[in-house]
């Protein structure tokens, strides 16, 4: 594990257990993401990856253990933590700009600074020219860009992503992942991304945590020692396939153990 940096944006989970009735989704899950680090969680369906993000976003109370941000337990949604859902979840009756600016409205921002911030966010995610459109008029990729911009509106220190691009075609997905890396380089946010794609996890993460099947807990950690900025070309082929093989081996061991 990385040593704890005493600066904003350190997300840590210790011994988290969440059960829904008799189904135990997470049990004894501990992990830590250092400031500015990108951690990918990978694991089979139903291993509680999304459940963990809900706990970390303050939407769900764990039955045991806790998730902390800079040492403080998270018990309710916090503006320092932003969550991007698997689906864009845009309000269909609002324009792109009004969707992106909604968190600012809810936080009580006045019209003028809000409009300025929305403009920046629209540029940041490459939606200039589409800000007056409604979600139904956008492609899937554009909708998820808008959802990302909305999450970034309040400048969170930690960005949680729940398979955000999994519904998109491969090319769009690749492009959005690269843009996510660019955003990370610009903002220095701590990012925890849930994925079930090994190449995606390797492309994005500094560390890939392999979770066990239900109940989920960290089975193995694979470091991706490739520097930033990354691109599809700079990721060395041999290195990527080694990392992928290792992750796959851990996934299989985890599955066999269950």
């Amino acid at each position: 594990m990385t040593s704890v940096e005493r600066r904003a944006g350190v997300l840590a989970a210790s011994d988290v257990r969440v059960a829904f009735g008799s189904t135990v989704a997470l049990d004894g899950l501990s992990l830590e993401a250092a400031r500015g680090e990108i951690v990918a969680l990978i694991g089979p369906n139903g291993c509680g990856k999304s459940t963990f993000l809900r706990v970390a976003a303050g939407l769900l109370r764990p039955d045991r253990g806790e998730v902390t941000l800079d040492g403080e337990p998270i018990s309710r949604p916090d503006p320092r933590i932003g969550l991007v859902f698997q689906e864009p979840r845009l309000l269909p009756w609002r324009s792109v700009a009004d969707n992106v600016g909604w968190p600012l409205e809810l936080a009580g921002w006045a019209r003028a600074p809000r409009a300025e911030r929305v403009g920046e966010l629209i540029d940041l995610v490459g939606l200039r020219g589409s800000e007056r459109l409604r979600p139904a008029q956008l492609s899937g990729g554009m909708r998820q860009r808008a959802a990302l911009a909305r999450t970034l509106a309040l400048s969170p220190e930690v960005l949680l992503l729940d398979e955000p691009f999994s519904a998109l075609d491969a090319l769009t997905r690749e492009r959005l992942n690269l843009e996510l890396l660019r955003l990370h380089a610009d903002t220095g946010m701590t990012i925890v991304v849930v994925s079930h794609s090994i190449p995606e996890a390797i492309l994005l993460a500094d560390r890939v945590l392999v979770l066990t099947p239900r109940p989920g807990r960290v089975a193995a950690e694979v470091r991706i020692d490739a520097g930033h900025p990354r691109s599809l070309e700079t990721l060395d082929v041999a290195f990527v396939s080694d990392a992928a093989a290792e992750i796959r081996r851990h996934l299989q061991t985890g599955a066999a153990a269950a």
């Binding site: 939407l59 949604p77 979840r89 309000l91 009756w93 139904a136």
Partner: protein, 256 residues
């Protein structure tokens, strides 16, 4: 409205006009072939003439004004209370379990039967009719609101929670806009029932209104063309009221 939309609506008006002409011709034929006297079934021309005369000589006007105000007030009150109660039913399960049997029972009791009771309680003036009207509007609006609010996308509610939206902002920014098309569907049903409610309410008390005029025309005046002219007025009132709700609907949700 764009030029294309206008062309479409003009083209769409043709079948409506043709159907109306066919309806009038069929009516005329029934009277002619059946050799029906005017007190059984007047011809369209007789009804039209009586309609124009009743409007120009001031026979209908005071009754019309009374009925329109009953419909307006009853619809407003019934739908406002319906939306509030429907929201409560959707969001508080206990309330739904406790109140549903009473609501259904109240709806199953014929309004015709309780209208005289209501005029006993609330007098023979405007209030009793507004209450009848409101009662009949209440149910479809409450049910539509309940269904609409229950069906709001849970993902959006979770999103609102993750953004720390207050109860009030969730209601105004998510729940009401999401449920609006369904609520408006209930209002469409409600507005036509409001007209029925007002007429039924008027039958229970000797006062003014189109319902009273129907009774007068049929009973004491024995003026069947006037009866039909009044029915046409009521039908037109219903169509216009319905049209206003549809118009409001287009303005509010047409953009989606």
């Amino acid at each position: 409205m764009t030029a294309a939309a206008r062309t479409r609506s003009v083209a769409g008006a043709w079948p409506v006009a043709v159907a109306f002409v066919a309806f009038v011709i069929a009516w005329q034929l029934v009277v002619a072939l059946g050799r029906l006297p005017a007190f059984i079934l007047p011809t369209p021309a007789e009804v039209a003439a009586r309609f124009v005369r009743a409007w120009t000589d001031g026979t209908i006007w005071p009754h019309f004004v009374t009925t329109v105000s009953e419909v307006g007030l009853g619809f407003a009150a019934g739908s406002a209370i319906g939306v509030i109660v429907g929201y409560g039913l959707a969001r508080f399960g206990v309330l739904a379990r406790i109140a549903s049997p009473y609501l259904v029972a109240a709806q199953a009791v014929p309004i015709l039967a309780i209208a005289p009771l209501l005029s006993l309680w609330f007098g023979t003036g405007l209030l009793a009719k507004v209450v009848v009207c409101g009662l009949i509007v209440f149910f479809p609006v409450a049910v539509a609101t309940m269904v609409g609010i229950r069906e709001v996308d849970r993902g959006l509610l979770e999103l609102a929670r993750s953004l720390r939206a207050s109860r009030r902002r969730v209601l105004l920014d998510v729940e009401l806009p999401a449920a609006l098309p369904v609520i408006l569907g209930g209002l469409r049903v409600g507005v036509t029932l409001a007209v029925v409610g007002a007429i039924v309410g008027e039958w229970a008390g000797p006062d003014r209104g189109l319902g009273v005029l129907i009774n007068l025309a049929r009973g004491s005046l024995f003026d069947t063309p006037l009866l039909f002219a009044t029915l046409v007025t009521i039908a037109l009132l219903g169509i216009v009221a319905y049209g206003l709700v549809v118009l409001a609907e287009r303005r509010l949700v047409g953009v989606r």
